[in-house]
């Protein structure tokens, strides 16, 4: 019964979106993690999604989604001249992560909406299967 595949598809969507939410939380938590060198500074991380294809039959559409990797943002870090800061380097600079709070918030809303729509799909599929079990009664 192909209807059961909907659960796999929706579940893959849920796990991809929750990983994305996890990354957003990590970015926001580290938004103020100051460090003394550019190499050590936290950089905003974004997930990379990819559609899963049926290996046996690549023409077969209806696929789930998976997170294939995480990329670090290459936006410039924020360097500030603060010689009194305990983490300042020899030249008196500190480095702040390149996390953009506004972007992260917008991303968070988008991720939670996507998560919700996958939950709705799962609920509808469950209702349909329950109705199918009651067929003929």
């Amino acid at each position: 019964m192909s209807m059961f595949k909907i659960f796999d598809t929706a579940a893959s969507g849920l796990s991809a979106q929750s990983s994305r939410l996890n990354l957003i939380a990590s970015n926001m938590a580290n938004a103020d993690a100051i460090s003394s060198s550019a190499a050590e500074t936290y950089r905003a991380r974004q997930p990379v999604f990819k559609a899963m294809l049926d290996q046996m039959n690549p023409d077969n559409a209806s696929t789930g989604v998976k997170m294939v990797g995480v990329v670090e943002s290459d936006a410039p870090l924020v360097s500030q001249y603060q010689p009194e800061h305990p983490l300042a380097n020899e030249e008196g600079y500190i480095f702040r992560p390149n996390v953009n709070m506004v972007e992260e918030m917008a991303n968070m809303i988008s991720a939670s909406r996507s998560y919700q729509s996958n939950v709705e799909v799962m609920n509808s599929a469950k209702q349909l299967l329950l109705a199918t079990l009651r067929i003929g009664q």
């Binding site: 929706a10 559609a51 559409a61 696929t63």
Partner: protein, 146 residues
């Protein structure tokens, strides 16, 4: 076996010629296609934010008409040959959705549109189920004879 002409034997003959797998008519096929379409739309929704993903769907009426007029059956002449499952849609029938507004990452999923299609498809699935239940109940009452 020979049947004598008569009203009772006539009904026996008719029951015998009616195959049970054809008893449900179009609704059985429709239900399988609806299930397949639900699966496809769920895939579109799961990939709502996958860069480059192209939303797919099929023309339900066209595929159902095709299935009813001439069900696609592949000839099986070897034990390794695979017959297409019931409710399967051939890749040629899987079309790509034309996006209402283009997106930078090449994704053509419009979640609102997909969700609307998913909801109406579920409703139609339930309608097919209702028809099937009606057929089953009339068969049941024919068997009971009351």
């Amino acid at each position: 076996m020979q049947y004598a002409a008569g009203s009772s034997s006539g009904s026996i003959l008719r029951l015998e010629s009616m195959k049970l797998d054809q008893a449900f008519g179009i609704h059985e096929r429709a239900l399988q296609l609806r299930a397949r379409r639900a699966e496809l739309l769920a895939g579109n929704l799961a990939n709502a934010e996958t860069p480059g993903f192209k939303a797919r769907d099929f023309d339900f009426q066209k595929v159902l008409k095709q299935e009813m007029s001439q069900p696609v059956k592949m000839s099986v002449t070897h034990k390794g040959h695979v017959q297409m499952d019931a409710g399967m849609v051939s890749p040629a029938e899987l079309l790509y959705r034309v996006p209402a507004q283009p997106s930078l990452d090449g994704n053509t999923v419009d979640p609102q549109q997909e969700y609307a299609a998913f909801s109406s498809n579920s409703l139609e699935y339930q309608a097919s189920l209702r028809f099937l239940t009606g057929k089953i109940q009339s068969l049941k009452s024919a068997i009971r004879g009351d």
